[in-house]
C-alpha cells in the first residue's frame, strides 16, 4: 500500500479532500517522528505504542566470512500493538 492509496482510502472514510488528508497525514507523521526523535514514547490510539530503546553493542558472527563482528550500540524503535490489533490478528489467524 502506497501513500496515494492510503490517502484516497482515508479521504473516502473521513469525507475529506485528498489535499487535506495528505496534509494531516504529513503533520501526523512529522509529529510522530519528532516525538520519537525526542526519545518520547507515543501511544497512537487504535494502532499501538512506539518507544525508543537503547540496544547495547554486541558481538555478532558472520557465518559466511566466519568472522566476529562488533555491532555498535543503536537506538531501536519498539512497537507494541494495542489489544484491538492483537485481537484482529488472532481473528485473522483463526
Amino acid at each position: 500500500m502506497n501513500k496515494a492509496r492510503l490517502v484516497s482510502e482515508l479521504s473516502t472514510q473521513l469525507s475529506l479532500t485528498k489535499y487535506d488528508t495528505e496534509e494531516r497525514l504529513a503533520h501526523l507523521i512529522d509529529l510522530m517522528c519528532e516525538e520519537l526523535d525526542q526519545q518520547n514514547t507515543i501511544q497512537v490510539p487504535g494502532l499501538g505504542q512506539f518507544e525508543t530503546r537503547e540496544r547495547a553493542s554486541y558481538v555478532a558472527y558472520n557465518p559466511h566470512y566466519k568472522k566476529k563482528m562488533h555491532i555498535p550500540p543503536k537506538v531501536v524503535i519498539q512497537f507494541t500493538p494495542t489489544k484491538a490489533v492483537k485481537d484482529e490478528l488472532k481473528g485473522a489467524g483463526l
Binding site: N2, L14, E23, I29, Q43, P45, L47, T52, V75, G93
Partner: protein, 527 residues
C-alpha cells in the same frame, strides 16, 4: 528525559500541529490506524509513508511455561505484527543517539573531573573536620584567620599527630617480648643505615649529574665531529674520560668493588687511551675529582661495612640468646608438664582410691576370663592387660603400670572375687570431640568399631552419639583383644550396638539406628 504521550495527549498534540479540532484529529487517527491494520492483516504488510512499515509474520507453535504456575504448555501458532522504521526515522533517532553518545564522553570526562574534584574537596573537608575540632580546643583565634595560615596550622597539627603516632609505636615495640636494648640497637641500625644510604644516594646522584653534563656535551660534540675535526679532538679526548668514569662508577656502585682496583683500571685505561691519542693534562682535574669521589665512596662503604659488622654480631647474639631462652623454656615446660602430670595422676588416683580398685578390677577381669575359658591361661592375659595399659595417656601410664605390677602379685590371691564387678573399669579417659568416639576407640582398643562399648558404658540412650560434650570423663571398659571375643563379650557388644541404635533412634537418625540394629545381628559374630 523521555515523556510518555498517551492517546489523548497524542491527539491533542496532533490537533495543535494540524490546526484542527480534537474530535477531528481523533477521527483521523482512528481511521488511519484502522486502515493500516486492516491492510496489514489482509495483505501481510502495510506502510506509513515517511514513518515505517508494518509487517505480519506467522509464529510457529512452541513450548513454553505458564508464567504463574510454571506449567509446561504449548503456545499455539499465531500471527505477530512487526514494525520496521524507515531509514529516515531510524537515522533520525540514531543521529540523536550518536550526538548523545558523543556528548556524554566529553560530559562524562568533565563530570568525572568535577566529581573527582568534588571528592577531593569533600575528602579535604573530611580531613579538616576532625582536625578543626581539635584545633578548636587548641586555638580558637586561628580559625578566624586566613585559610592558608589555617592549613599551615593544620599541617603543623598533623605533623604533631604523626609524631605522636610514632611515639606511640615505639612503646608498642618495647612491650614485645624481646629486650629493649635490642630494639634500641635495631632502631639505631635502621637510622644509621637509612642515613648512610641517603648519603650514598646523594653522592651517586651528584656524580651522575656531574658525568651526565659531561656526557651531554660529548653527544653534541659527536654530532659535530664529522664537520669539525681539529678542535673537537681535544673535546673527544675529554669525553672519553667521563665515559670511562661512568662505567667504572657504575661498576663500583653496583658491585661495591674495592675502589683501588677500579682506580688502577681507570688509570690503565687512561694510559692506554693516552698513548695512542696524546691527551692534554686538562683531564687531571677530572681524574682528581673522580678519585676524590671514589675515596668518599670508599669511606662510605667502609662505614657501612663497619656498621654492618658491628650490627651482625649483635643480631647473632640475640638469636643465640633467643635460642637459649627457647630451649631452656621448652625444657622447663616439658619438665613442668611431666611433674604436673605425674602429680595430677597420683592425686586423682589417691582421691578416687583407684590405686586399689584398678588392681582389683584387672584381677577380677582376669578371674572372669579364666572362669569363662575354664583354662588357667593367666600369663597371656596379663600381657594383654599390660599392652592395653600401654595405650593410656602419659599421666596415668606410670600409675597403671605400677597397678598392673601389683595386680600380678594380687592376681594369685584374689582369683575368687565376685563376678558382679564384670564391667568395672580399669581407667578413665577424657572425651575429645575433635577426634570423636570412633577414633578414641581406635586408640584404646585398636578397633574403632568398638566405640559402641565406650558409649554404652558411659551414656544413656537419651544421649546423641554424635553430640557428646567435650571433656566429659569416660570410663573405659576392659575388652578382650579383637578377634578373640568370648561369648559374653559378644553379647555385650550386641547390647552396646542395640543401645547405640536406640540412642540414634532417640536422636532422630533412623537410618543410622537401623544400620546399627542390623549390625548387632552379624557384627559381634565376626569378633
Amino acid at each position: 528525559m523521555s515523556i510518555k504521550r498517551n492517546g489523548s495527549e497524542f491527539i491533542e498534540l496532533f490537533a495543535l500541529k494540524a490546526g484542527i479540532g480534537n474530535t477531528e484529529a481523533k477521527l483521523f487517527i482512528h481511521a488511519l490506524s484502522e486502515t493500516v491494520t486492516e491492510v496489514a492483516i489482509s495483505e501481510g504488510k502495510s506502510s506509513l509513508s515517511g514513518f515505517g512499515r508494518f509487517t505480519i509474520k506467522e509464529v510457529a507453535d512452541r513450548e513454553g511455561t505458564q508464567p504463574g504456575t510454571g506449567e509446561r504448555i504449548i503456545i499455539p501458532a499465531h500471527k505477530r505484527i512487526y514494525f520496521t522504521p524507515y531509514k529516515r526515522l531510524a537515522d533520525l533517532v540514531n543521529k540523536k543517539n550518536e550526538e548523545l553518545n558523543n556528548k556524554p564522553r566529553n560530559s562524562i570526562d568533565t563530570a568525572t573531573l568535577l566529581s573527582t574534584s568534588d571528592n577531593l574537596q569533600i575528602s579535604d573537608e573530611l580531613n579538616n573536620i576532625p582536625i578543626s575540632t581539635e584545633s578548636n580546643t587548641v586555638k580558637n583565634k586561628e580559625m578566624e584567620k586566613n585559610n592558608d595560615s589555617f592549613s599551615e596550622d593544620l599541617d603543623g597539627i598533623k605533623s604533631q599527630e604523626k609524631a605522636k603516632t610514632v611515639e606511640f609505636k615505639i612503646p608498642k615495640l618495647s612491650t614485645s617480648p624481646a629486650n629493649d636494648l635490642e630494639i634500641n640497637d635495631a632502631q639505631l641500625e635502621n637510622s644509621e643505615k637509612t642515613d648512610l644510604l641517603d648519603e650514598l644516594e646523594l653522592l651517586i646522584l651528584q656524580k651522575k649529574k656531574h658525568l651526565m653534563s659531561g656526557s651531554l656535551d660529548i653527544r653534541v660534540d659527536d654530532e659535530d665531529f664529522t664537520e669539525q675535526n681539529a678542535p673537537n679532538q681535544e673535546e673527544e679526548k675529554e669525553n672519553v674520560f667521563p665515559n670511562n668514569i661512568t662505567s667504572v662508577d657504575r661498576t663500583s656502585s653496583i658491585d661495591s668493588k674495592p675502589p683501588q682496583i677500579t682506580k688502577e683500571r681507570t688509570l690503565t685505561n687512561i694510559e692506554s687511551s693516552i698513548n695512542p691519542k696524546k691527551y692534554i693534562p686538562v683531564e687531571e682535574d677530572l681524574l682528581k675529582d673522580f678519585i676524590g669521589s671514589m675515596d668518599e665512596l670508599k669511606t662510605a662503604i667502609k662505614n657501612i661495612s663497619a656498621k654492618s659488622n658491628r650490627i651482625k654480631p649483635i643480631s647473632n647474639n640475640t638469636i643465640s640468646i633467643d635460642k637459649k631462652i627457647l630451649i631452656s623454656s621448652s625444657l622447663i615446660g616439658v619438665l613442668v608438664i611431666f611433674v604436673s602430670g605425674f602429680l595430677i595422676g597420683s592425686t586423682v588416683d589417691r582421691l578416687f582410691g583407684r590405686g586399689s580398685t584398678d588392681s582389683m578390677s584387672t584381677s577380677s577381669q582376669q578371674s572372669i576370663q579364666t572362669k569363662l575359658t575354664g583354662n588357667t591361661q593367666e600369663q597371656p592375659i596379663q600381657t594383654n592387660t599390660i599392652d592395653r595399659t600401654g595405650l593410656t595417656p602419659d599421666a596415668t601410664q606410670s600409675t597403671n603400670r605400677s597397678n598392673t605390677n601389683t595386680s600380678k602379685n594380687l592376681s594369685n590371691l584374689t582369683t575368687s572375687s565376685s563376678t558382679s564387678s564384670r564391667l568395672s573399669t580399669s581407667r578413665s579417659v577424657r572425651f575429645r570431640s575433635e577426634i570423636g568416639l570412633y577414633n578414641m576407640a581406635q586408640e584404646i582398643y585398636g578397633n574403632p568399631r568398638l566405640w559402641v562399648l565406650l558409649f554404652e558404658e558411659n551414656f544413656s540412650t537419651s544421649q546423641n552419639p554424635d553430640d557428646i560434650a567435650d571433656g566429659t570423663t569416660l570410663t573405659v571398659p576392659n575388652v578382650a583383644t579383637p578377634g578373640s571375643f568370648s561369648e559374653l563379650e559378644r553379647e555385650r557388644l550386641r547390647i552396646a550396638l542395640l543401645h547405640v541404635a536406640q540412642a540414634y533412634e532417640n536422636a532422630g537418625k533412623r537410618d543410622l539406628a537401623q544400620s546399627y540394629r542390623s549390625a548387632s545381628v552379624y557384627y559381634p559374630n565376626t569378633m
